[in-house]
C-alpha cells in the first residue's frame, strides 16, 4: 500500500472478535466433552464419525440377530427338553407294561387277574397318551404343525388316533441353520405306521394349466431365455424368447408362438411333451440358463421341423386334474369307488366327483375312518395312511370296480399293518385281557423294537439339545466380542474425555483472564 496504512495493524473489532472466537472454541469443546461424558457415547449421530457409525450399525444388527437366535434356542430347547422328559416317562410306563406282561406270561392267571392286568395296562396306556399330549408354552409338542389340538386320542375301541401331521416345527438358530425343535408323532411314536404305499406310477400328462414348477419330477424349470433359430423360406431367423415371466405351459406356448411365429403345442401322441412346428429346420439353444433343456426343447444342433421334445415328467401335485393321470387316460372305471377298512370301520368312497387329486384326498379324509391320502415323496403316486396306531388298513375295490388298482392302492384282502408304540400297547392290553398266551409272547418280543423307537427319538433329542447348547455358547461369545467392538467404536474413552475436559477448563480460565485484561487495556487510560 502506498498509503501510511501498514499490514500489521490490528483493528479493535478484529482484536475483540479474535479473543471472543478463542473463548467460544474452547467453550464448544467443553460442551462436546461434557455431552460425551454425560451420555457415555463418543458417536451420537452418524456425522460424529460416519465410518464408525456405519460399522456400529452393522455390528448392532449382528448383535441383535445373535440375541434373537439365542431366544429361539431357549424356546427350542424348552420344547425339546419337555419332549425328552415325556419320552422318559413314557418309556417307564412302557417298561411297567412289559413287567405286567411278563408276570402274566410266567404265573398262572385267572380271568379276574387277566382283567385286572388288562385294566392296569389300559391305565398305563392312557397315562402315556396323556403325556404324549404334553404342552410347552401352550403348544402341543408331538403334533407336528398342528400345535393347537391334542395330537393323540384314545378311541372307544381302545385304539389310539393321531390328529397331528408329520411337519416338525423348525426355528433358525444361526445364520442359514434351522433346527427342528419338536418331534412329530410319527417320529417319536411311529404314529403313522400303517401305510398303503401306492404301487402305481400315476404318470400324469400335461395341459396348458400345468405349472412349470411341477415339471421334471417337481424340480421345475429354471427361469431364463431360449434362442430359437428357424429356417424358413428366405433364410434363417434367430429369436431370443424371454420365458422369465411364464408360470404355466400355456404361457410358454403363447410366448414362443408370439415371438417366433412357430406353433408350439402339447404333443398329441404322448400328451406329456411339447411339439414345435413351422419352418423347415429348427435349432433351440439355451440363452442364459437351462430353460430349453428343462422344457425338453433343447435340440442338439439343427434338426428337421417339426420337432418333438422330451418327456416333461411332471410330478403330481394336489391340483393335478384326475383326468390327466395315467398318461392322460384318467381312471377308466366309470364310477371310481374304493372301499377302505381301517380297524373296525369301513367306508365306501366314491371318487367320481373329484376333479383334482385334492378333491379325491378330501373325499377320502371325509369318509371318516381316520384315513388320509397324500402324494408320495417322489411325486409319482399316492399313499393311504391310517391315523390309528397299529390298525389294519384294507383298501379294496367296490364290486367289479378297478379304481383302487388303477391308483395303485389296492391291498391284499388281509390288509396292511405296521407296528407302532401305541398300537402295540393297545394290542397287549387286549391280548392280556383275553389271556391269549401265544399272542402275548409274540407281542412281548415286538416290544423290544418299539422301545428302540422311543430310545432313538430320545437320542435324537439329546443330540439336538447338545447342538443347541454349543450354538448358544458360540452366540454368547460372539455377543461379548461384538459388544467390545461396538464399545470401542462408539463409547467414549472416559479417561481421555476427563483429561480433555480438565485441560479445556484450564484453557478457558486462562483465556478468560487474558481476554479480560487485554480488553481493559487502552492508550486512552494514559493520555
Amino acid at each position: 500500500m502506498a498509503d501510511s496504512f501498514g499490514f500489521d495493524r490490528i483493528s479493535s473489532i478484529s482484536r475483540d472478535q479474535y479473543l471472543l472466537g478463542d473463548i467460544q472454541r474452547v467453550n464448544k469443546r467443553i460442551m462436546d466433552t461434557t455431552s460425551q461424558l454425560t451420555s457415555g457415547k463418543r458417536v451420537r449421530k452418524p456425522s460424529d464419525d460416519a465410518i464408525a457409525s456405519t460399522r456400529a450399525l452393522g455390528l448392532a444388527r449382528l448383535r441383535d440377530d445373535s440375541a434373537q437366535y439365542n431366544t429361539n434356542i431357549q424356546f427350542g430347547r424348552g420344547r425339546l427338553e419337555t419332549a425328552e422328559n415325556s419320552l422318559d416317562q413314557i418309556n417307564d410306563l412302557f417298561n411297567r407294561t412289559r413287567d405286567i406282561l411278563l408276570t402274566q406270561l410266567q404265573a398262572p392267571f385267572t380271568t379276574q387277574t387277566a382283567t385286572q392286568a388288562s385294566q392296569a395296562i389300559q391305565l398305563l396306556l392312557e397315562e402315556a397318551v396323556d403325556i404324549a399330549n404334553q404342552k410347552y408354552e401352550n403348544e402341543y409338542i408331538f403334533g407336528g404343525q398342528n400345535t393347537e389340538n391334542p395330537p393323540f386320542e384314545v378311541l372307544a375301541d381302545g385304539s389310539v388316533r393321531y390328529n397331528g401331521d408329520r411337519q416338525p416345527v423348525t426355528v433358525p438358530i444361526s445364520d442359514l441353520v434351522n433346527s427342528q425343535v419338536t418331534l412329530t408323532g410319527p417320529e417319536a411314536f411311529s404314529a403313522f405306521s400303517t401305510t398303503v404305499t401306492g404301487s402305481a406310477d400315476l404318470d400324469p400328462n400335461v395341459n396348458g394349466s400345468t405349472k412349470l414348477s411341477v415339471l421334471n419330477q417337481g424340480l421345475g424349470v429354471s427361469s431364463g431365455k431360449v434362442r430359437v433359430t428357424t429356417d424358413v423360406t428366405g433364410g434363417s431367423v434367430t429369436t431370443v424368447v424371454d420365458l422369465t415371466q411364464t408360470t404355466n405351459l400355456q404361457d410358454v406356448i403363447d410366448r414362443i408362438n408370439q415371438d417366433t411365429g412357430l406353433t408350439v403345442t402339447i404333443d398329441g401322441a404322448t400328451g406329456d411333451r411339447l411339439t414345435v412346428t413351422g419352418g423347415t429346420t429348427l435349432n433351440i439353444e439355451e440363452e442364459d440358463s437351462t430353460t430349453a433343456r428343462d422344457l425338453g426343447l433343447l435340440t442338439s444342433g439343427s434338426v428337421a421341423a417339426p420337432f418333438t421334445g422330451s418327456d416333461l415328467d411332471p410330478a403330481l401335485d394336489s391340483l393335478t386334474p384326475m383326468s390327466l393321470l395315467l398318461n392322460g387316460a384318467g381312471l377308466t372305471d366309470p364310477t371310481p369307488t374304493i372301499v377302505i377298512t381301517n380297524g373296525n370301520d369301513t367306508a365306501t368312497v366314491n371318487l367320481s366327483s373329484a376333479q383334482t387329486l385334492q378333491d379325491a384326498f378330501n373325499l377320502i379324509e371325509q369318509a371318516d375312518v381316520d384315513v388320509f391320502a397324500e402324494i408320495n415323496s417322489a411325486g409319482s403316486g399316492i399313499d393311504i395312511i391310517s391315523r390309528r396306531s397299529g390298525a389294519t388298513l384294507i383298501v379294496a375295490e367296490s364290486g367289479a370296480g378297478t379304481a383302487a388298482s388303477e391308483l395303485g392302492i389296492l391291498t391284499p384282502g388281509t390288509g396292511v399293518k405296521t407296528d407302532s408304540v401305541f398300537g402295540l400297547w393297545s394290542e397287549i392290553e387286549t391280548a392280556v385281557g383275553a389271556g391269549n398266551i401265544p399272542t402275548m409272547s409274540t407281542l412281548g418280543d415286538l416290544m423290544e423294537s418299539m422301545q428302540d423307537v422311543l430310545l432313538s427319538a430320545r437320542a435324537e433329542i439329546g443330540g439336538r439339545v447338545i447342538r443347541m447348547d454349543l450354538t448358544e455358547m458360540r452366540h454368547l461369545d460372539e455377543q461379548t466380542f461384538l459388544d467390545g467392538l461396538t464399545s470401542e467404536l462408539v463409547d467414549v474413552d472416559l479417561a481421555e474425555a476427563s483429561m480433555n475436559f480438565q485441560r479445556d477448563q484450564t484453557l478457558l480460565q486462562a483465556a478468560l483472564q487474558a481476554t479480560a485484561k487485554t480488553l481493559r487495556l487502552s492508550i486512552l487510560d494514559y493520555i
Binding site: 482484536r15 464419525d49 456405519t54 431366544t71 408354552e137 411337519q167 394349466s209 408360470t247 403363447d254 493520555i527
Partner: protein, 665 residues
C-alpha cells in the same frame, strides 16, 4: 505587512486542516463498531508556495481529500468467500436437520424400529399360533410405519420450508438491489458525476455492505462506472444497472407434493453457483430429494417385498370377505371400458428418451390418442426406477407419453416401464385361492391365472391380445367356483366395487379363504392379504385389517397353526437381494443411507469450517486495512491535537508580530 497577513492565513489553513483531520478521527472512533465501515483518513497536502526572490515560501496546508482505506481486490475476495460460506452453511444446516429427523443412535431411530419389528417377527416365527406374538408384531409394525411416515413427511416439510426460505431470500435480495440502485443515484450526485470519485465515503460503505449481502446470496459480478455508480450482475443477468434495479420473479411448479419456486430476473433464470441461494436451491432440489428418494425406495421395497410373501400365506385366521386396498382406474377394469380398456398392467420399453417429462414407445400404436391418459407409468429400470407419474397425454402416431410432472431424471432408450393404475409391478403369473370349510376342515384350492404376457392364446389381437383386465380375473374366479360348488352355492362371489376395488364377498357362511403361490404379485400390488399399505414413505402404514385383527398376519404356507414357513420367509426379507446393484438388501440399503447421510453431514460441516477459516483470514486482512483501532486513533488524535495547538500558537505569534509592528510604527 502583506507577508504577515499571508502567514496568518497559513495558521488559519493549518487550524482548518487539522480540525478536519481531527473530525475524521472522531468519525472513525464513532464508527469503530459499525458494520461495513472503512476507516477514513484526511489526506493533507501543502498548499502551493509563492516566489520570494530566489526562494519559494510555503503557504500552509489544506485537506486534499478524505478517503476510505480499502483494498478493492480484498473486498471482492471477502465477498466471494462469504458467498461460498453461506452456501456451505445452508448445506450443512439442511443435512444437520435431516440427520436430526433420522435421529439415529437414539431411542426410536429407524434402525431400532426396524430391528424391533424383525425381532417381533422372529418371535412370531417360533410361536406362530401365539396371539400375543401377533399383537406384538402388529404393534412393532405400527411403530415402524409411523417412523417411516414421520421421516418421510418431515423431509417433505423440510423441502417446503427451504422453498419458503428461498422466497424470503429473493425478496430480501430485491430489497438490497433496490438499495444499491438508490445509493448509486445519490453517489453520482454527491461525487459530481465522477469528478470527485470516491468522495462519498459513507454512502459507498453502505453500498458495499449491500453488495456484500447480495454476494452472500448468489455469485455476482460488480463493475464500477466512471460516474461512481456500480452495476451488479449474475451470470450476465443485471440485478442493478446504475440507478435501476431488476426485481426477481418466481414461478411455481409442483414437485412431489411441494410447490417449488423457480427463480428468474427479467425472465432469465437464476442459477447461482455460490451464496445462500445456491445452498438453499441445492438443498431443496438435490439434497433433500436424494434422501426422500432413498427413503421412498426403501419403504416401497420393504412394503412390496413383504406383501408379496405375506399375501401368499395363511394366518391363524382366514378371510371371509376381502376388499383390495387399491382402487383401479376405469380403464383397467375391462376391455370394453369407456375410452378403451387396458389390461391390468402393460409393460413396455422406452424407444426414444432424452426428456424427463415424456418418452416415446410406438409398440402400442394403433388406437386412440387418449388410450393411456389417466393411468400411471411406473419406471421399472433405469435412473427413474421406482418412480411413478400420471400420463396426461398420449399421442398415438408417435407413441409419445407425456406426464403431468417430470420424473427426476431423463429417460434413456431401453428403460423398461409399466403402465397401470397399480402402484407396483405385476407380471404374468397366477395365484391360488384356498377355501376352508370351517365345519369339516376340508380345503379346496383354485388356481387363478393372471395373463399379462402380451401374447395371444389363439387369435392374435394386438397390441394387448388376451391379457387380463380385472373383470377377467373376477370372471375366472366366479366360473371356477360355480363349476365346483354349483351356481348360488359358491362360498364367495368375486366382484368389482362401485369405487373400482377388487372384492371377494362372502356368500355362504362357514367358509373362509386365503391365498398362496402368487407369482403374478397382483395380490400384493392391488392390496389383498397385504400387511403394509402405501407406495411411498409418507403414506406407508399397516393395512387396517391387520391392525384390527392380528390373527390375519400370515405365518404359514398351509393352514396348520404351527406352520411358520411364511414367518421365516418374512423374517429373511431384510437380507434378500431386492435392489439392483449395491446395496442390494433392505438392511444394507438403510445402513448405506445412514452412512451416506453421516458422511455428507460431516463433510458439509468440514467444508463450512474450512471456508469459515478462510473467510476469517480474509476478514482479518480486510480489518488490517480498513478496521478502526482505537489506540491508533488516539495516537493520531494527539498528533493532530499538537499540530492544531501549534497552529494556534503560530497565529498568536503572528498576532504579536502584527501588534509589535502596529505599536512600534
Amino acid at each position: 505587512m502583506t507577508d504577515l497577513f499571508r502567514a496568518l492565513s497559513v495558521g488559519t489553513n493549518a487550524l482548518e486542516a487539522n480540525q478536519s483531520a481531527l473530525q475524521t478521527i472522531g468519525h472513525n472512533i464513532a464508527n469503530a463498531n459499525t458494520e461495513g465501515y472503512h476507516r477514513q483518513r484526511a489526506h493533507l497536502s501543502a498548499t502551493p508556495s509563492y516566489d520570494f526572490f530566489l526562494h519559494q515560501i510555503g503557504t500552509g496546508v489544506s485537506v486534499d481529500r478524505v478517503r476510505r482505506a480499502l483494498d478493492v481486490t480484498l473486498e471482492r475476495s471477502v465477498r466471494e468467500s462469504l458467498g461460498q460460506q453461506a452456501s456451505y452453511q445452508k448445506r450443512m444446516e439442511t443435512l444437520t436437520r435431516i440427520e436430526d429427523v433420522f435421529n439415529e443412535f437414539n431411542t426410536g431411530a429407524l434402525t431400532n424400529s426396524l430391528q424391533d419389528f424383525f425381532d417381533a417377527l422372529g418371535d412370531l416365527s417360533t410361536h406362530p399360533e401365539d396371539q400375543g406374538a401377533r399383537v406384538q408384531l402388529v404393534g412393532m409394525g405400527e411403530i415402524l410405519a409411523d417412523r417411516i411416515q414421520y421421516i418421510g413427511s418431515r423431509l417433505q416439510m423440510e423441502r417446503s420450508q427451504l422453498n419458503d426460505t428461498i422466497e424470503a431470500t429473493v425478496t430480501q435480495m430485491d430489497e438490497y438491489t433496490s438499495q444499491v440502485a438508490s445509493l448509486n443515484k445519490e453517489i453520482v450526485v454527491l461525487e459530481n458525476g465522477g469528478s470527485d470519485n470516491g468522495a462519498a465515503n459513507d454512502l459507498r460503505d453502505r453500498r458495499d455492505l449491500f453488495v456484500q449481502r447480495i454476494g452472500e446470496m448468489l455469485d455476482i459480478r460488480v463493475t464500477e462506472s466512471t460516474n461512481g455508480s456500480i452495476n451488479v450482475s449474475h451470470n450476465g443477468i443485471f440485478l442493478v444497472s446504475g440507478g435501476s434495479y431488476f426485481p426477481s420473479g418466481t414461478s411455481l411448479t409442483i414437485d412431489d407434493g411441494v410447490a417449488e419456486s423457480t427463480l428468474s430476473v427479467g425472465g432469465a433464470p437464476l442459477s447461482p453457483s455460490s451464496g445462500s441461494l445456491h445452498g438453499l436451491l441445492e438443498a431443496r432440489d438435490t439434497l433433500v430429494p436424494h434422501f426422500e428418494n432413498q427413503l421412498r425406495d426403501f419403504s416401497r421395497t420393504l412394503g412390496f417385498e413383504f406383501n408379496k410373501i405375506h399375501s401368499s400365506g395363511f394366518g391363524s385366521q382366514l378371510y371371509s370377505t376381502l376388499t383390495s386396498t387399491e382402487s383401479l382406474h376405469d380403464k383397467n377394469l375391462s376391455s370394453t371400458a369407456a375410452g378403451g380398456g387396458i389390461p391390468l398392467a402393460v409393460r413396455g420399453q422406452v424407444s426414444t428418451g432424452g426428456f424427463s417429462n415424456q418418452f416415446n414407445d410406438t409398440t402400442f400404436s394403433g388406437a386412440t390418442n387418449d388410450r393411456f391418459v389417466g393411468l400411471e407409468v411406473l419406471a421399472l429400470s433405469g435412473s427413474n426406477a421406482g418412480e411413478r407419474r400420471t400420463v396426461t397425454d398420449y399421442v398415438d402416431a408417435t407413441g409419445q407419453f407425456i406426464f403431468e410432472e417430470g420424473f427426476d431424471h431423463n429417460f434413456t432408450a431401453g428403460d423398461t416401464y409399466q403402465i397401470s393404475s397399480l402402484p407396483f409391478a405385476v407380471q404374468n403369473g397366477s395365484f391360488d385361492i384356498t377355501f376352508l370349510q370351517d365345519s369339516t376342515g376340508v380345503e379346496k384350492t383354485f388356481t387363478i391365472e393372471v395373463d399379462l404376457d402380451g401374447a395371444p392364446s389363439g387369435v392374435a389381437s394386438p397390441p394387448f391380445h388376451d391379457d387380463d383386465h380385472l373383470q377377467d380375473i373376477v370372471n375366472d374366479i366366479n366360473s371356477q367356483l360355480q363349476t365346483f360348488y354349483g351356481a348360488g352355492s359358491e362360498p364367495i362371489v368375486a366382484e368389482i366395487t362401485s369405487d373400482n376395488r377388487f372384492r371377494l364377498r362372502n356368500q355362504i357362511s362357514g367358509y373362509s379363504f386365503g391365498f398362496s403361490n402368487d407369482t403374478s404379485h397382483l395380490l400384493a400390488a392391488v392390496g389383498m392379504g397385504t400387511f403394509f399399505t402405501g407406495d411411498n414413505a409418507r403414506n406407508f402404514a399397516l393395512n387396517d385389517l391387520i391392525s384390527q385383527n392380528p390373527g390375519l398376519v400370515a405365518t404359514g404356507n398351509t393352514t396348520r397353526a404351527g406352520n411358520n414357513q411364511v414367518a421365516l420367509l418374512l423374517a429373511g426379507i431384510r437380507d434378500k437381494t431386492v435392489f439392483d446393484g449395491t446395496p442390494s438388501t433392505l438392511s444394507t440399503y438403510l445402513t448405506s443411507l445412514l452412512s451416506d447421510l453421516g458422511t455428507q453431514t460431516a463433510g458439509a460441516r468440514e467444508l463450512h469450517e474450512n471456508q469459515s477459516v478462510l473467510t476469517d483470514n480474509l476478514e482479518n486482512r480486510r480489518q488490517q486495512i480498513s478496521g478502526v483501532n482505537i489506540d491508533e486513533e488516539a495516537t493520531e488524535l494527539i498528533r493532530f491535537q499538537r499540530a492544531f495547538q501549534g497552529a494556534a500558537r503560530f497565529i498568536r505569534v503572528i498576532d504579536e508580530l502584527l501588534a509589535t509592528l502596529i505599536q512600534s510604527t
